[in-house]
């Protein structure tokens, strides 16, 4: 388990509850109920902190939405200022990987934003450095709190700090034109994957079988996790044999050219850009690309999504998504909470996320909306959440150093810098050395 007092569900707990829930849930109702499998409902009560709509003041929000998807954050803000027209919201862009460092540096000077929009794996370190303010009292007064399952709540020492209004995870995108041309289907298990890639590579059409992230960063770890966990890897139990099986798979793809070696320098955004060119059959990437895909690919080629192939031990998929946090040094905590409440915790706000970036709403009462259930691109992700979702950051954020070890070795295997067996040995030893500290 992660940081002291963290109430993140372990992957095992999550999967156990998923298994119980999945059998009885229909697809329409399954998503939120799955995530809620762990969470009890609380009776609704009125919020005692709602500021007056005529409140004046300023609110600073730190986010990392780049130019491509900043409209979503702007739309959240418009939603908020519709109710609080006299509040001046300042959106400040901070690059994703820089946000934890900047936040901690700001905390040293007892400053920082009023609200953070952040969904990375460094929340535990940020909490320990005193970056966040507890939202527990607001949460207890929040009318809709029962709509949110425990799986999307981040607690430290039994206090609520962050809430994810929606979840993001990785799936398998495919270029349907290429698949039709070659005559293959999206693979369902890891045994099928290499054979499918081989057929694409040998079709004589110069198609690249797959694009995915091989960066030695948390994005690489995110991408590697489904394959590693599919063979039975977990951070508390870094089984070397399981790691070697997963690394052997990706090693073969890289050696045979199924996965371009340049993937080691691609982040998730670059992976999408590369796939969107039109000559790559598959891409491991997230549901947040649904919006960009419709804007950038349009009718250039037909595409779809499928669940990532499962391994012998099924495997998990990190449940990401951006959470909202109140800054520890805010002078306007009520307004900060109001921003959270009006944007990513509200149905309207979550519909913005769903329509613009494909984020899957976590609210129970949105699981049956046609926007969620009738989108064929979203459906595989909804199924994945239901069947294979696992907590992110893993182990409540206690595995940051171990995640870095995984990402570096994942990257090294793709680059051909290490053999699968050497990387597996280094990973198992590195995770043991870093996770248990």
């Amino acid at each position: 388990m992660g940081a002291e007092g963290s109430r993140f569900l372990s992957r095992r707990e999550l999967l156990q509850r998923a298994a119980v829930g999945a059998g009885s849930l229909t697809l329409a109702g399954g998503l939120a109920e799955f995530i809620a499998a762990c969470g009890g409902s609380s009776p609704a009560s009125s919020s005692g902190h709602a500021p007056d709509p005529n409140t004046t003041g300023a609110l600073t929000v730190w986010h990392y939405s780049s130019q491509q998807d900043v409209k979503t954050v702007q739309d959240y803000t418009a939603l908020f200022t519709r109710k609080y027209p006299k509040v001046d919201v300042k959106l400040q862009y901070v690059e994703f990987s820089e946000m934890p460092k900047r936040a901690i540096a700001a905390a040293a000077a007892k400053s920082g934003p009023d609200v953070f929009i952040y969904g990375g794996n460094e929340v535990s370190a940020m909490y320990q450095a005193g970056v966040f303010k507890s939202a527990e009292s607001y949460w207890q007064g929040f009318v809709d709190r029962a709509q949110f399952p425990d799986g999307v709540l981040t607690r430290f020492k039994n206090q609520l700090y962050g809430v994810k209004g929606y979840v993001n995870l990785t799936g398998l995108w495919y270029n349907k034109d290429i698949l039709d041309d070659v005559g293959v289907q999206p693979p369902k298990t890891v045994e099928d994957v290499t054979a499918t890639f081989a057929r694409i590579a040998s079709s004589g059409k110069k198609y690249t079988p797959i694009a995915m992230t091989g960066q030695p960063t948390d994005q690489g770890d995110w991408t590697a996790w489904p394959w590693l966990s599919g063979f039975g890897f977990s951070y508390p139990n870094p089984d070397q044999n399981a790691i070697q099986q997963a690394f052997s798979l990706v090693d073969e793809w890289a050696r045979k050219g199924y996965l371009p070696k340049e993937a080691v320098s691609w982040g998730q955004a670059e992976t999408f850009t590369r796939w969107a060119v039109g000559d790559v059959a598959f891409m491991e990437n997230g549901n947040w690309n649904i919006g960009p895909a419709s804007r950038q690919i349009g009718s250039k080629f037909k595409y779809g999504t499928a669940q990532l192939p499962t391994g012998p031990k099924t495997g998990g998929l990190f449940l990401g998504g951006e959470a909202l946090w109140i800054g520890a040094f805010t002078k306007v905590p009520d307004l900060a909470w109001a921003y959270m409440q009006e944007t990513l915790l509200s149905k309207t706000g979550l519909l913005i996320t769903l329509s613009e970036s494909g984020g899957i709403p976590a609210r129970h009462d949105m699981s049956t909306l046609p926007d969620v259930t009738s989108n064929p691109l979203l459906d595989p992700y909804v199924q994945e959440v239901k069947n294979r979702g696992s907590e992110y950051p893993p182990e409540g954020g206690a595995a940051i150093a171990a995640q870095a070890v995984v990402a570096q070795n994942w990257s090294a295997v793709i680059a051909g810098q290490k053999s699968a067996s050497q990387a597996a040995k280094d990973t198992a030893e590195g995770v043991k050395a870093n996770y248990h500290k």
């Binding site: 370190a125 680059a415 810098q417």
Partner: protein
């Protein structure tokens, strides 16, 4: 009161006990801005760095008391495989940046020695490349060295198979070092060219009269005369290369795996990616100490130059 001047004129004298303290105080006053600047931006951070490197600091206690652990933290970090690999990578990186920077700078300076419009234009272009932020240069080169980038496209015209500049084994380290050297060359060119223009004309003219060939002039006259300049430039380039961080951050992020992780990058990763602040500080301290040694050499060399 009597006044005497050095050349036999009268100079105003004041009692010795009063005069010297006044002079000392005035000197210190002039030094004060620079001293304050250095104390705030160099000495204090350095003291904090040393303090952090001998303490146990994580995200949980970064703003609280730091338990003292002495040199054990430094020893533990130095014993890791990551540190050894990063140290080796740093040596390779520094050697390439300094070597290519100096040789390239000298070659460019000799070619641009005579001046003229083309030389001026070339020099301006080089300075432009040197003046660009590392972020811009690094990003541009990352695209240029991509498999579908311009470098491989041009090589492809000559039937050269794509080279995985930023991917294959040790090649990423070499590629980033060469890009860094590419940025270092213009600076070396400027310095060498200034030194070349300052060479005694009569010596060069004598060599010409004696029938020395161009390479002989270069080998036996120019290079020996440029030796002091080369030494200073080498030390400055060593310091620059040793603390280089931006190109690695932008182009490879230390990867693939850890293939291009140098000591400064390892320090960054430990402190700001893994929140092992004291480990990061220990690695940074090693880097700073090496740079300090080089700085002392530089200062001594400059002192020698000034003394003639």
């Amino acid at each position: 009161m009597r006044e005497t001047f050095a050349r036999g004129t009268v100079r105003r004298t004041v009692p010795r006990s009063r005069r010297r303290p006044l002079r000392v105080r005035a000197e210190w006053l002039f030094l004060l801005p620079a001293a304050l600047f250095l104390a705030t931006l160099a000495a204090y951070p350095f003291v904090e760095l040393v303090h952090m490197s001998v303490s146990q600091v994580t995200a949980a206690n970064i703003f609280h008391d730091w338990p003292f652990v002495g040199a054990s933290g430094l020893q533990a970090v130095a014993a890791t495989a990551d540190f050894r690999e990063a140290a080796l990578d740093t040596v390779i990186y520094v050697t390439l940046v300094v070597g290519v920077g100096l040789v390239g700078g000298l070659a460019s300076a000799v070619m641009l020695w005579r001046g003229g419009r083309i030389a001026g234009f070339t020099l301006a272009l080089m300075v432009f490349g040197w003046a660009l932020p590392g972020l811009i240069n690094g990003t541009a080169w990352r695209f240029l060295l991509d498999k579908r980038g311009m470098v491989d496209t041009v090589l492809g015209l000559f039937h050269v198979a794509p080279v995985y500049w930023l991917v294959d084994n040790r090649l990423p380290l070499v590629s980033v070092a060469l890009v860094n050297a590419w940025v270092a060359v213009p600076f070396a060119t400027l310095v060498y060219r200034a030194a070349l223009l300052d060479l005694p004309k009569d010596v060069l003219a004598s060599a010409d009269v004696d029938g020395a060939r161009p390479w002989q002039v270069l080998r036996y006259i120019v290079l020996p005369l440029l030796r002091p300049c080369t030494l200073v430039l080498a030390v400055v380039s060593l310091v620059y290369a040793f603390k280089s961080f931006d190109f690695i951050y932008i182009m490879t992020f230390g990867g693939p795996g850890t293939a291009s992780t140098t000591l400064p990058f390892l320090s960054y990763r430990l402190a700001f990616e893994l929140y092992k602040y004291s480990d990061g500080a220990a690695v940074a301290l090693v880097t700073v100490l090496v740079v300090l040694v080089l700085a002392v050499i530089y200062i001594r060399q400059v002192g020698r130059e000034e003394r003639g």
